[in-house]
Every structure is written in C-alpha cells, then in structure tokens.
C-alpha cells in the first residue's frame, strides 16, 4: 500500500446532457417535470492503481474519456460512484497558463499563476528570476500579457508550471503546443521528472513520447480500460483502434469515388478495386501486407498494341509510382469487346503510412497516347509503420560479415 500513489476503485462518471440546455428560469419552470436530458456514461467502473514513481501514459481516441478521467482525478469533477485515493500532492496541468490575464503584466501573471499553483508571494519572489530566465523573457516582464505572442505566453506558462513542487503530475496534451525548441524543453523536463522519481500521468497522442518516457500505458476506449501494461503493446492497440475507424472512412470515400469516377459501360476500364490476397475487398493495409489491385478491362481490336497503366498518387496529387503492362503481355483472347477480363496487380507493401489514390489508364503503345484515363478510381491506406516519417520502405535484405584482416 505504501508505494501506491493513486488508487482508483470502481470509478464511474457520467454527465447529464440536456436536450436543449435549460439555462433560464422559465425553461426550467416549464420543463420542471420532464426529464429534458439524457445521461451519458463517460467512465465505466474503472479500477486503476498507480505506483509511486511510475510514468503512465494514457492513450485513447477522442471521446474515450481521457480528459474526464484526468479531470476527475484532479478533483475538478466529482465522481458519481467509486473512490479515488491519492497519496501526496497532485498538480494537474490540463492546460498551460490557466488564469493568465491579458490585462496584467507578465510579472503580475507570474505571481497570480504561482498562487494558483499553491505558492505564496515570497516563494514566487525567490523563484522569479529562474522563471524569467528560463522563459527567456527578461525584457518583456513589465509589458501586458496581451502584447505577448502566443509562443511567449506558452513559454512563460511552462516556466511557471515546472516550478510546481509536487508528488504527482497530471499532464494533458502539453506537447500539443509550441515549436520544436519548446518540445525539447518538455522532453528535458520529463527526463528530469523521471530522474526525481515523480509520479506522472501523461495524456498524449504522440506515440513516440509514450514509448520514450512512459513505463506503463493504459488504453481507454468508450470509458473502459481495454489495456494496461507495457507501452509497446499499448501503442499497437491504440493504432488498431484508429485503424478500424480509418477503414470505415476509406470505405465511405471509395463509395463516393465510385459514383464520381465515370465507369462507362462502353469504356475500356470497367472497375478498379483493392483486395487482399484471398480476393476479399480491402482498403486498409498493414505494413508489408500484399496489396492486390484488381482491374476489369474491356478492350477491342481497334487499339493497336494496347498497354495498361496504374499511377499511385498521394492526396496532394503527386505521382509517387506507376506500373505498366505492355501489349506483348496481353493475350489475344483478352482483346474482345464482348468479354471483360480481370487483371490483378500484386504489390509488395513498400508504401509508407498514408493514403494513396489509384489512377488507371489505357493507352496505345504506338504513340503512348492515353486513350482512357480514370483519375482516382479507388484509394487505399497503409497504417502501422514504425518509421512513419519517410516516403517509401524498400524491400531489403541484410548481410553482416565479420571484418576480415
């Protein structure tokens, strides 16, 4: 028990969502007996125990209850059911610079913010120089905050925040603001917290930060903890959660594309779609998974030496890659207006994470003039590479040898 920092038992929290907000007395009087609201459960029977010195990441899609959990933990919301035991002092940073007043000078805001963190005036005086120099705002402290740039405000807020002398820190998306230099400062601060053995709860969508700092991660979905354990598995599960929703949205957009793209009954190109290796329709692929692009053509003998091409564009319209089949590979029996033939291209997953649009084209090899082009005939996406900031992932083999002397 002694090394427990936070113990959450059977925690439930919901909100009453009025159908139409009754903010006036008349509205309340008229609808006095009607239940003009519905109860929305946000957190459902949570049981979490966090030990002292743990750096816990909380992952979850938007609306999964992360913020509600943090706010309930921080004592901002009152739980409906269950209990929260906290050993030591807990400081929440739901947002940086809470209580900053634009009409006050930077200096006054430091004192106000310090007081909100629980410091007395004399304590803030002692740390004042540190705060100012860390924020690099020496020349601006007597100016009103409204004349600060947003970056300056964040720097000042952060400099005050890190002074907080507390046992447990609750951080919500602090990394979402600020430039690279600021993020580096954040990371330094995290390292410092870890070194000091503070208990930290971090909500973020930045998977690399989770893997780098957290010793444990929770995945929240629809108000329940669906995973609690190491960060590797947690980030994987979180990605999979995102996949399911991406899949649905791609299918919707493919449907739209189908109605948009002209697949004429007389056209050479009859359909283009993406499949998995077993021939099932698929729009979302994991890295290294084989992508099957299935095209149906209807060609006639009037085309001299037909060739078939596919282009892969990113959503910005840049062509990333193209593949072609030459006329010598197309068999005679396929060139028949009355009969369709299907061509399956099988691609190795070399594409990086992202969305790809497929353009199909029929041209004649005599002059390479396009006879028919269907732009953005279908789209597919790839999610899950662990090196997401590149364009392609070439297939590769390894060779390791002992250096010979």
């Amino acid at each position: 028990m002694e090394d427990t920092a936070i113990k959450i038992t059977n925690l439930s929290k919901g909100f009453k969502l009025p159908h139409e907000r009754q903010n006036t007395l008349k509205g309340t009087l008229i609808n006095f007996n009607k239940r003009g609201y519905e109860k929305q459960r946000v957190l459902e029977n949570l049981n979490i125990e966090i030990k002292k010195g743990e750096f816990v990441g909380i992952l979850g899609r938007n609306g999964s209850g992360k913020s509600t959990l943090l706010k309930t933990l921080s004592g901002i919301y009152t739980p409906d059911k269950g209990s929260i035991d906290i050993q030591g002092k807990l400081t929440p940073f739901i947002e940086l610079g809470v209580g900053f007043n634009p009409e006050l000078s930077g200096r006054d805001n430091v004192f106000l913010n310090g007081a909100l963190l629980g410091f007395s005036r004399s304590e803030v005086k002692k740390m004042y120089d540190d705060i100012v120099s860390f924020a690099e705002l020496e020349r601006f402290m007597d100016q009103k905050l409204k004349n600060y740039s947003s970056g300056m405000q964040v720097r000042l807020a952060f400099s005050v925040a890190i002074q907080a002398n507390t046992d447990i820190l609750v951080l919500d998306e602090v990394l979402a603001v600020g430039d690279e230099a600021f993020q580096r400062k954040c990371y330094d601060y995290f390292n410092e917290l870890k070194a000091k053995g503070k208990t930290v709860i971090l909500v973020t969508h930045d998977m690399s930060a989770v893997r780098r700092f957290c010793t444990r991660a929770l995945v929240l979905n629809a108000g329940e903890v669906i995973y609690d354990g190491d960060t590797e598995s947690a980030t994987d599960i979180y990605r999979n959660l995102n996949l399911t929703s991406t899949e649905a949205s791609i299918e919707r957009s493919n449907k739209r594309a189908k109605s948009k793209a002209v697949f004429d009954a007389d056209a050479y190109i009859q359909s283009v779609s993406t499949l998995d290796e077993d021939g099932e329709k698929k729009v979302l692929y994991r890295p290294k998974e084989k992508i099957v692009i299935s095209c149906t053509f209807k060609l006639d003998g009037s085309i001299a030496r037909p060739s078939l091409q596919l282009w892969f564009n990113n959503p910005g319209g840049t062509a990333l890659s193209a593949i072609r089949i030459h006329s010598k590979d197309i068999k005679k029996e396929h060139i028949n207006l009355d009969k369709e033939f299907t061509l399956n291209w099988i691609l190795d997953g070399i594409f990086n994470d992202g969305k790809y649009l497929v353009t199909a084209e029929v041209s004649s090899e005599t002059d390479y003039e396009a006879l028919e082009t269907i732009r953005d005939a279908c789209e597919f996406s790839i999610v899950g590479w662990d090196l997401p900031n590149v364009l392609v992932h070439p297939r590769r083999v390894f060779e390791m040898k002992q250096a010979q002397k």
Binding site: G75, V98, F111, F119
Partner: protein, 265 residues
C-alpha cells in the same frame, strides 16, 4: 477551518484580490483615486439635490453625512452581491482547468468590495468631521453594523453565485430586487416621512434597514430611528435572524452545488 484558511488558500486569496484591484481602474487616468473620488462626487450631488433643493431631511442633524453613510453602505451591499453573482461563471476558466477551492473565488470578490467600503468610509469620516458631527463612544459599534451587512451579503453572494451557474436569469432578477430594495430601505428618505407606523415597523425588519439605521445612530446622530426604538419585545430579533438564515442557507446551497460547477458552467 484549518484547511479553509491554509497557507496556499491565503496566498491565492491575496493574489486574487490584488489582481481584482489592479484590473479595476485599468486604463483610467486617475486610477485608484477614483475609489475616493466616487463617494466624494456622490456627496456633492446629494448635498445639492437633497439639502439645497428638496430639503428632505430638514429635521435630522448632519443630514448630508447621514445620507452619504446610508448610500455608501447600500452601495457596498449592491457591489458585493452583484460582483459575487457573476464571479463563479466569470472564473469558469479556473474552475474547469485546475483544482481550486471554489468558495475562494466568491470570497475574494467580497473582499474587494470590503476594501472599497473601507476607502469610502474614510471619505464619510472626513465629511463627518467637516460637518461638525460630534462622535460618541457608540462610533466604536460601527464595525459590528458593517459585519452584519457583510454576513448578510456573503450569504446572498454564495447563493447567487451558485444559482447563476444554472440559471442565468438570476442576474436580471437580482438587479430588480436591488432596485426595489433601494426604495424599500430608508436610505434617501428619513423613516419618519412614512405616515404609517406599521409600515415603518415593517421596513425596519429588513436587515439592511436595521443595520443602516443602527450605523447612522452609532456614527452620526442619535436622532436616527433604530430598530431597537421602533420594535417591541422579540421583534427586534427578526433582522438578525433573517441575516443568519440568509447566511446559512446561502452557504449550504453553495456547498451542495459547488461540486458540479465544473460540469455545469
């Protein structure tokens, strides 16, 4: 009680009051001087209207100061309750983002009003001296009258601030109530101007009327009619009882509601 006035809460309270004062006369040339100028100018107006033209308080010695004290006390009540009313909603950013004792927000706006009253009372005292008021020992009882008004006002403040989170009509209703209260309280007219003794008695049952009359009696002139002089027997308890009820009900309501401020704002 210990946790209520912990070191952190005291520091926060001081900082909130300080901020409030800094922002109050933000951008005005004379700044803090307005705190003194406002009652001063008010006095000039009252003097001209009531003493030179209307000659209302002819029977009461030092009537202008008598009038000024009444208005200053009523303004304190008005300022404190109306400022507190919007304080919780106005500080929604804090309530939704950090853990903060909610009562501190209401309390800090009440303290700003109290400080302002202090400045106003200095002006009243200066005029009282110029007007030749001879102070008696009863002047030392004035803080008790102010304490009574403060207790009444803080009870109402807590109630109004909490209710305003849910019902935004409260601010308009309260404006009307204050307006009605101003005329239902013998501030600009002497109580003796009301012909019916029954109505006189009825009016003095209000804690504001009782405490303002007591304050005038204690500081300015013993000719001021007090509740003690008008009411017989146990009736004298009524204004104090009302004050206590408003205070306790307001506090209780605020406590029951404050847990849900963050989600209701």
């Amino acid at each position: 009680m210990k946790t209520y006035l912990s070191r952190q809460n005291r520091a926060l309270l001081a900082e909130l009051v300080r901020t409030d004062f800094k922002l109050r006369y933000q951008g005005s040339l004379l700044g803090y001087a307005w705190s003194l100028l406002k009652p001063l100018l008010l006095f000039v107006i009252l003097y001209v209207v009531f003493v030179n033209f209307l000659k209302i308080g002819a029977g009461i010695p030092h009537y202008p100061v008598y009038l000024l004290l009444g208005i200053v006390l009523w303004n304190f009540f008005t300022e404190m309750t109306s400022q507190s009313l919007g304080s919780i909603v106005g500080r929604g950013d804090l309530i939704r983002k950090i853990r903060i004792s909610r009562w501190i927000i209401v309390f800090s706006s009440s303290l700003s009003a109290l400080i302002n009253l202090g400045l106003n009372l200095i002006v009243v005292l200066v005029f009282a001296i110029f007007n030749g008021v001879s102070f008696s020992f009863s002047a030392f009882l004035l803080p008790l009258n102010i304490a009574e008004i403060y207790i009444l006002a803080i009870g109402l403040s807590f109630f109004l601030a909490a209710a305003y989170v849910k019902f935004r009509d409260i601010s308009y209703i309260w404006e009307v109530v204050l307006q009605a209260g101003f005329y239902a309280t013998p501030i600009i007219y002497p109580l003796t101007q009301i012909p019916s003794v029954f109505v006189q008695k009825l009016l003095i049952l209000s804690p504001m009327a009782q405490s303002i009359q007591d304050a005038r009696f204690n500081l300015i002139t013993h000719d001021a009619i007090t509740a003690g002089a008008l009411l017989q027997g146990m009736w004298i308890v009524v204004p104090f009882l009302l004050t206590a009820i408003f205070f306790l009900v307001g506090l209780k309501y605020f406590r029951s509601q404050s847990r849900y401020f963050a989600e209701n704002i």
